[in-house]
Protein backbone atom coordinates (compact mmCIF):
# COMPACT_ATOMS: atom_id res chain seq x y z
CA UNK A 1 0.00 0.00 0.00
CA UNK A 2 1.79 3.08 -1.19
CA UNK A 3 -0.82 5.81 -1.40
CA UNK A 4 -2.72 5.60 1.85
CA UNK A 5 -1.56 4.14 5.15
CA UNK A 6 -4.03 1.52 6.28
CA UNK A 7 -4.37 2.92 9.79
CA UNK A 8 -5.52 6.31 8.49
CA UNK A 9 -8.10 4.72 6.23
CA UNK A 10 -9.46 2.55 9.02
CA UNK A 11 -9.57 5.61 11.29
CA UNK A 12 -11.64 7.45 8.68
CA UNK A 13 -14.00 4.47 8.45
CA UNK A 14 -14.30 4.43 12.24
CA UNK A 15 -15.11 8.15 12.38
CA UNK A 16 -17.78 7.79 9.70
CA UNK A 17 -19.29 4.80 11.51
CA UNK A 18 -19.35 6.75 14.76
CA UNK A 19 -21.09 9.68 13.07
CA UNK A 20 -23.73 7.33 11.71
CA UNK A 21 -24.21 5.80 15.16
CA UNK A 22 -24.62 9.26 16.69
CA UNK A 23 -27.19 10.05 14.00
CA UNK A 24 -29.24 6.95 14.82
CA UNK A 25 -29.15 7.71 18.53
CA UNK A 26 -29.83 11.44 18.35
CA UNK A 27 -32.31 11.94 15.53
CA UNK A 28 -35.95 10.99 16.06
CA UNK A 29 -37.07 11.28 12.44
CA UNK A 30 -37.26 7.81 10.92
CA UNK A 31 -35.95 8.99 7.54
CA UNK A 32 -32.86 10.44 9.22
CA UNK A 33 -32.38 7.26 11.20
CA UNK A 34 -32.45 5.24 7.97
CA UNK A 35 -29.93 7.63 6.40
CA UNK A 36 -27.63 7.20 9.40
CA UNK A 37 -27.85 3.43 9.01
CA UNK A 38 -26.76 3.90 5.40
CA UNK A 39 -23.76 5.93 6.59
CA UNK A 40 -22.80 3.13 8.99
CA UNK A 41 -23.06 0.45 6.29
CA UNK A 42 -20.99 2.58 3.95
CA UNK A 43 -18.31 3.05 6.61
CA UNK A 44 -18.16 -0.71 7.18
CA UNK A 45 -17.71 -1.21 3.45
CA UNK A 46 -14.97 1.41 3.39
CA UNK A 47 -13.10 -0.47 6.12
CA UNK A 48 -13.40 -3.70 4.11
CA UNK A 49 -12.11 -2.15 0.89
CA UNK A 50 -9.18 -0.35 2.55
CA UNK A 51 -8.10 -3.47 4.42
CA UNK A 52 -8.42 -5.56 1.26
CA UNK A 53 -6.46 -3.01 -0.77
CA UNK A 54 -3.64 -2.92 1.72
CA UNK A 55 -3.13 -6.65 1.15
CA UNK A 56 -3.63 -6.33 -2.59
CA UNK A 57 -6.43 -8.89 -2.57
CA UNK A 58 -9.90 -8.77 -4.13
CA UNK A 59 -11.70 -10.17 -1.08
CA UNK A 60 -12.42 -6.76 0.45
CA UNK A 61 -14.11 -5.59 -2.73
CA UNK A 62 -16.21 -8.77 -2.86
CA UNK A 63 -17.37 -8.07 0.69
CA UNK A 64 -18.25 -4.52 -0.33
CA UNK A 65 -20.46 -5.88 -3.11
CA UNK A 66 -22.30 -8.03 -0.55
CA UNK A 67 -22.73 -5.03 1.75
CA UNK A 68 -24.10 -3.05 -1.20
CA UNK A 69 -26.65 -5.79 -1.89
CA UNK A 70 -27.70 -5.87 1.72
CA UNK A 71 -28.01 -2.08 1.88
CA UNK A 72 -30.26 -2.06 -1.19
CA UNK A 73 -32.57 -4.73 0.26
CA UNK A 74 -32.59 -3.02 3.65
CA UNK A 75 -33.45 0.37 2.20
CA UNK A 76 -36.34 -0.96 0.12
CA UNK A 77 -37.92 -2.72 3.10
CA UNK A 78 -37.15 0.20 5.45
CA UNK A 79 -38.74 2.76 3.17
CA UNK A 80 -41.85 0.60 2.77
CA UNK A 81 -42.00 0.43 6.57
CA UNK A 82 -41.72 4.23 6.73
CA UNK A 83 -44.64 4.53 4.33
CA UNK A 84 -46.80 2.28 6.51
CA UNK A 85 -45.66 4.17 9.60
CA UNK A 86 -46.66 7.49 8.09
CA UNK A 87 -50.06 6.17 7.02
CA UNK A 88 -50.78 4.88 10.51
CA UNK A 89 -49.46 7.70 12.67
CA UNK A 90 -49.45 10.70 10.26
CA UNK A 91 -46.00 11.65 11.51
CA UNK A 92 -42.37 10.59 11.13
CA UNK A 93 -41.49 10.80 14.81
CA UNK A 94 -40.11 7.49 16.01
CA UNK A 95 -41.13 8.16 19.61
CA UNK A 96 -44.80 8.07 18.64
CA UNK A 97 -44.44 4.36 17.89
CA UNK A 98 -42.93 3.49 21.24
CA UNK A 99 -46.00 1.51 22.27
CA UNK A 100 -47.45 -1.47 20.46
CA UNK A 101 -51.05 -0.43 21.13
CA UNK A 102 -52.34 2.87 22.30
Amino acid sequence: MTVVPMETGLLLAGILFLLGLVGVLVRRNVIFMLMSIEIMLNAAGLAFVIAGASWGQADGQVMFIFILTMAAAEVSVGLALILQFYRQFKTLDADVASQMRE
Binding site: G9, L16, G20, M35, V62, M70, A80
Partner: protein, 176 residues
Protein backbone atom coordinates in the same frame (compact mmCIF):
# COMPACT_ATOMS: atom_id res chain seq x y z
CA UNK B 1 -0.86 11.14 -3.49
CA UNK B 2 -1.61 11.10 0.19
CA UNK B 3 -2.84 14.70 0.23
CA UNK B 4 -5.72 13.77 -2.10
CA UNK B 5 -6.77 11.11 0.38
CA UNK B 6 -6.76 13.60 3.25
CA UNK B 7 -8.81 16.16 1.30
CA UNK B 8 -11.40 13.53 0.39
CA UNK B 9 -11.49 12.22 3.95
CA UNK B 10 -12.07 15.68 5.42
CA UNK B 11 -14.86 16.29 2.92
CA UNK B 12 -16.43 12.94 3.86
CA UNK B 13 -16.40 13.77 7.57
CA UNK B 14 -17.69 17.33 7.08
CA UNK B 15 -20.55 16.30 4.82
CA UNK B 16 -21.51 13.43 7.15
CA UNK B 17 -21.67 15.86 10.08
CA UNK B 18 -23.90 18.08 7.96
CA UNK B 19 -26.15 15.05 7.20
CA UNK B 20 -26.90 14.31 10.82
CA UNK B 21 -27.45 17.95 11.77
CA UNK B 22 -29.77 19.13 8.98
CA UNK B 23 -33.45 19.70 9.69
CA UNK B 24 -34.72 19.33 6.14
CA UNK B 25 -34.49 15.82 4.73
CA UNK B 26 -33.66 16.95 1.19
CA UNK B 27 -30.76 19.11 2.40
CA UNK B 28 -29.44 16.11 4.32
CA UNK B 29 -29.76 13.97 1.19
CA UNK B 30 -27.64 16.41 -0.81
CA UNK B 31 -24.89 16.23 1.79
CA UNK B 32 -25.21 12.45 1.97
CA UNK B 33 -24.61 12.26 -1.77
CA UNK B 34 -21.48 14.39 -1.37
CA UNK B 35 -20.30 12.07 1.40
CA UNK B 36 -20.80 9.01 -0.83
CA UNK B 37 -18.95 10.71 -3.71
CA UNK B 38 -15.97 11.47 -1.48
CA UNK B 39 -15.85 7.85 -0.30
CA UNK B 40 -15.91 6.88 -3.97
CA UNK B 41 -12.88 9.11 -4.65
CA UNK B 42 -11.11 7.37 -1.75
CA UNK B 43 -11.86 4.01 -3.41
CA UNK B 44 -10.22 5.24 -6.59
CA UNK B 45 -7.20 6.36 -4.59
CA UNK B 46 -6.64 3.08 -2.77
CA UNK B 47 -6.80 1.10 -6.02
CA UNK B 48 -10.40 -0.15 -6.20
CA UNK B 49 -11.84 1.58 -9.29
CA UNK B 50 -14.62 -0.97 -9.80
CA UNK B 51 -15.95 -0.41 -6.29
CA UNK B 52 -15.69 3.35 -6.75
CA UNK B 53 -17.92 3.25 -9.82
CA UNK B 54 -20.30 0.82 -8.10
CA UNK B 55 -20.59 3.18 -5.16
CA UNK B 56 -21.64 6.03 -7.44
CA UNK B 57 -24.08 3.95 -9.48
CA UNK B 58 -25.77 1.98 -6.72
CA UNK B 59 -25.44 4.14 -3.61
CA UNK B 60 -25.50 7.68 -4.95
CA UNK B 61 -27.70 6.69 -7.89
CA UNK B 62 -30.24 4.06 -6.98
CA UNK B 63 -30.55 4.17 -3.20
CA UNK B 64 -30.64 7.96 -2.98
CA UNK B 65 -33.34 8.06 -5.67
CA UNK B 66 -35.39 5.69 -3.49
CA UNK B 67 -35.01 8.12 -0.59
CA UNK B 68 -36.07 11.04 -2.78
CA UNK B 69 -39.13 9.11 -3.97
CA UNK B 70 -40.23 8.48 -0.41
CA UNK B 71 -39.66 12.08 0.67
CA UNK B 72 -41.66 13.32 -2.30
CA UNK B 73 -44.44 10.84 -1.53
CA UNK B 74 -44.69 11.88 2.11
CA UNK B 75 -44.61 15.66 1.61
CA UNK B 76 -48.02 16.17 0.12
CA UNK B 77 -50.02 19.37 0.33
CA UNK B 78 -49.23 23.03 0.13
CA UNK B 79 -46.42 22.85 2.67
CA UNK B 80 -44.39 20.99 0.08
CA UNK B 81 -44.98 23.69 -2.51
CA UNK B 82 -43.56 26.30 -0.19
CA UNK B 83 -40.72 23.95 0.57
CA UNK B 84 -39.99 23.49 -3.12
CA UNK B 85 -39.70 27.24 -3.51
CA UNK B 86 -37.19 27.28 -0.68
CA UNK B 87 -35.29 24.25 -1.98
CA UNK B 88 -33.62 26.15 -4.77
CA UNK B 89 -32.31 29.00 -2.68
CA UNK B 90 -28.66 29.69 -3.15
CA UNK B 91 -27.41 29.14 0.38
CA UNK B 92 -28.97 25.71 0.28
CA UNK B 93 -27.08 24.23 -2.66
CA UNK B 94 -23.95 26.29 -2.11
CA UNK B 95 -22.29 24.02 0.45
CA UNK B 96 -22.82 20.69 -1.32
CA UNK B 97 -21.90 22.34 -4.62
CA UNK B 98 -18.54 23.59 -3.34
CA UNK B 99 -17.66 20.23 -1.78
CA UNK B 100 -18.70 18.34 -4.91
CA UNK B 101 -16.63 20.72 -7.08
CA UNK B 102 -13.52 20.01 -4.98
CA UNK B 103 -14.16 16.29 -5.40
CA UNK B 104 -14.62 16.69 -9.16
CA UNK B 105 -11.27 18.50 -9.49
CA UNK B 106 -9.62 15.78 -7.45
CA UNK B 107 -11.23 13.05 -9.55
CA UNK B 108 -10.13 14.63 -12.82
CA UNK B 109 -6.64 14.94 -11.39
CA UNK B 110 -6.66 11.22 -10.58
CA UNK B 111 -7.91 9.84 -13.90
CA UNK B 112 -6.40 12.39 -16.32
CA UNK B 113 -4.10 10.57 -18.79
CA UNK B 114 -1.12 12.76 -17.93
CA UNK B 115 -1.37 11.81 -14.28
CA UNK B 116 -1.62 8.04 -14.61
CA UNK B 117 1.08 7.75 -11.98
CA UNK B 118 -1.57 8.66 -9.40
CA UNK B 119 -3.19 5.26 -9.79
CA UNK B 120 -1.43 2.97 -7.30
CA UNK B 121 0.48 -0.06 -8.54
CA UNK B 122 -1.52 -2.40 -6.36
CA UNK B 123 -4.81 -1.71 -8.18
CA UNK B 124 -7.21 -4.65 -8.06
CA UNK B 125 -9.06 -4.70 -11.37
CA UNK B 126 -12.66 -5.86 -11.93
CA UNK B 127 -11.49 -9.09 -13.54
CA UNK B 128 -9.94 -10.35 -10.32
CA UNK B 129 -12.97 -9.22 -8.33
CA UNK B 130 -15.28 -11.12 -10.66
CA UNK B 131 -13.15 -14.24 -10.58
CA UNK B 132 -13.09 -14.21 -6.80
CA UNK B 133 -16.80 -13.40 -6.56
CA UNK B 134 -17.94 -16.27 -8.77
CA UNK B 135 -15.53 -18.92 -7.56
CA UNK B 136 -14.63 -18.50 -3.88
CA UNK B 137 -17.72 -16.59 -2.84
CA UNK B 138 -20.29 -18.35 -5.04
CA UNK B 139 -22.37 -19.33 -2.03
CA UNK B 140 -22.47 -15.70 -0.95
CA UNK B 141 -23.83 -14.71 -4.37
CA UNK B 142 -26.64 -17.24 -4.00
CA UNK B 143 -27.45 -15.94 -0.53
CA UNK B 144 -27.45 -12.37 -1.83
CA UNK B 145 -29.97 -13.44 -4.47
CA UNK B 146 -32.21 -14.85 -1.72
CA UNK B 147 -31.82 -11.61 0.22
CA UNK B 148 -32.84 -9.50 -2.76
CA UNK B 149 -35.86 -11.73 -3.36
CA UNK B 150 -36.86 -11.32 0.28
CA UNK B 151 -36.41 -7.56 -0.10
CA UNK B 152 -38.69 -7.43 -3.15
CA UNK B 153 -41.43 -9.48 -1.48
CA UNK B 154 -41.12 -7.58 1.80
CA UNK B 155 -41.30 -4.18 0.14
CA UNK B 156 -44.30 -5.26 -1.95
CA UNK B 157 -46.10 -6.63 1.07
CA UNK B 158 -45.45 -3.62 3.29
CA UNK B 159 -46.10 -1.07 0.59
CA UNK B 160 -49.62 -2.31 -0.06
CA UNK B 161 -52.12 0.44 0.56
CA UNK B 162 -55.04 -1.55 1.91
CA UNK B 163 -55.98 -5.12 1.34
CA UNK B 164 -59.42 -5.84 0.01
CA UNK B 165 -61.11 -8.66 1.92
CA UNK B 166 -61.66 -11.79 -0.09
CA UNK B 167 -65.24 -12.04 1.05
CA UNK B 168 -67.60 -9.79 2.96
CA UNK B 169 -67.43 -12.32 5.79
CA UNK B 170 -63.86 -11.21 6.42
CA UNK B 171 -64.65 -7.52 6.52
CA UNK B 172 -63.89 -5.74 9.75
CA UNK B 173 -66.91 -4.41 11.56
CA UNK B 174 -66.08 -0.91 12.58
CA UNK B 175 -68.83 0.84 14.51
CA UNK B 176 -68.04 4.12 12.80
Amino acid sequence: MTILFYIAGVIAILSTIMVITRLNAVHALLYLIVSLLSVSVIFFLVGAPFIGILEIIVYAGAIMVLFIFIIMMLNLGKESEEQEKRWLERKMWFGPGILAAILLIEFIYIIFPGFQKNIPESTVYPREVGLSLFSTYLLGVELAAFLLLAGIIGAYHLGHRSRKPLHRFFEERNPK
